[in-house]
Symmetry: C2
Amino acid sequence: MSDGIGLAVSAVIFALRPHRESGEQVLHLPLVRRLRAPFDDHWALPGGWVDEAESLADAAARTLEATTSLRPAYLEQLYAFGEVERSPDARVVSVVYWALVRSEEVARTRVGQNVRWFAADDLPTLAFDHNRIVDYALWRLRSKVEYAPVAQSFLGETFTLAELRGVYEAILQRPLDPANFRRQMAASDEVEPTGEFTTTGRHRPAQLFRSKAAPTAPSPWRAS
Amino acid sequence: MSDGIGLAVSAVIFALRPHRESGEQVLHLPLVRRLRAPFDDHWALPGGWVDEAESLADAAARTLEATTSLRPAYLEQLYAFGEVERSPDARVVSVVYWALVRSEEVARTRVGQNVRWFAADDLPTLAFDHNRIVDYALWRLRSKVEYAPVAQSFLGETFTLAELRGVYEAILQRPLDPANFRRQMAASDEVEPTGEFTTTGRHRPAQLFRSKAAPTAPSPWRAS
DNA sequence: CTACATAGAGTCAATATGACTCTTATCTGG
DNA sequence: CCAGATAAGAGTCATATTGACTCTATGTAG
């Protein structure tokens, strides 16, 4: 075989949280403070070593829950990073996943001293090549949201079209026309109306929708 | 660390070759005959173990050249396959790449007893989970050709639009309207006319084109 | 009851796409 | 040397999609 090569998994976990000042929904991700060298005291993506008895995806879900106690609504492999000098001293190949978690789930979570949420567009300098990894994950999320039904994973079982549009706007960082958004969703077969309506705050009640086709898995699985 | 986990690379290498009967251009890929257990005597994707001193992409290119002596015009990571029971007895994680090689390059290559080209849509039962991997690579190639300039990698420095269209037709397995294809290519900024023309066979000479934007790398690199 | 805000439907011009026609340039067979 | 045959390359037309915009319905707050 080969070896002397460490095999790790990490995850870029996205959630929507209100920005501390503006209050707008903004993409955030949880980072973990490193407690040993290399990059002692730097922030890093949650992750860990792959167990011999678990698949890569299982390892990603496990380490993600162990470090942040989050359970994602969507999980997909991002890329395997395998440059030689990614980590000083050791050779490490990281299979990185990206994940989306619902806002409810975020609230449920206690984050301690060593886990903290950061706005995705305003990160400190991270350990290893993790800044680059986050950039790539962001690019992938923003691309994928345009052609695949992933945005729903940020929301609960049912949601209004305005809420869903808010998710798209937060991801794409630009306003979308409500009427056109509604039309595209109606045509796209991604959501379906439940009969129910919001017993709303102060405006006309909005109909609740639910996702139709469950967000499809990565796609190696589509082939099977 | 972890370990006891073998880290391998494999490659799905596509080239266009005339189908043995119909003579049409068809996607082919080279497979390697296994000479030991497990799956002794089965055909498998070319690959090998990752060296401690080389990146994943380098390992893919090296093992690919070592087993098939092909040098690809395009190489991109496909997926990291890491199910527990992929390989009997051992635990192996395979980072799989997919590649495109020019037809010239194919001709230049001697393939021996233990390396053979197969039509991509008509494969035998392969070792490990390699059939599934090929299916996924095919899906990826067919998707990607619709929005990224990868088809050029099958051709040489210059080519006519008819040749390029032939590549698309072979990949997508459906005829494309010549006039519409020309229009889209003109609009797409992917190719540019050289001034030269084919000193043709028996018809009106066609202008030669070359690719404009070099086929972009995977995209973790676009972010940097 | 009035003002206001969002839900949701509809209009219109610009653009992209598929199917098709027409002209031009070359080779081949008589 | 001329008459097909064939592909190159330009152009036409009906249709679908998209962005920008308008209009009406239905709730709450005062």
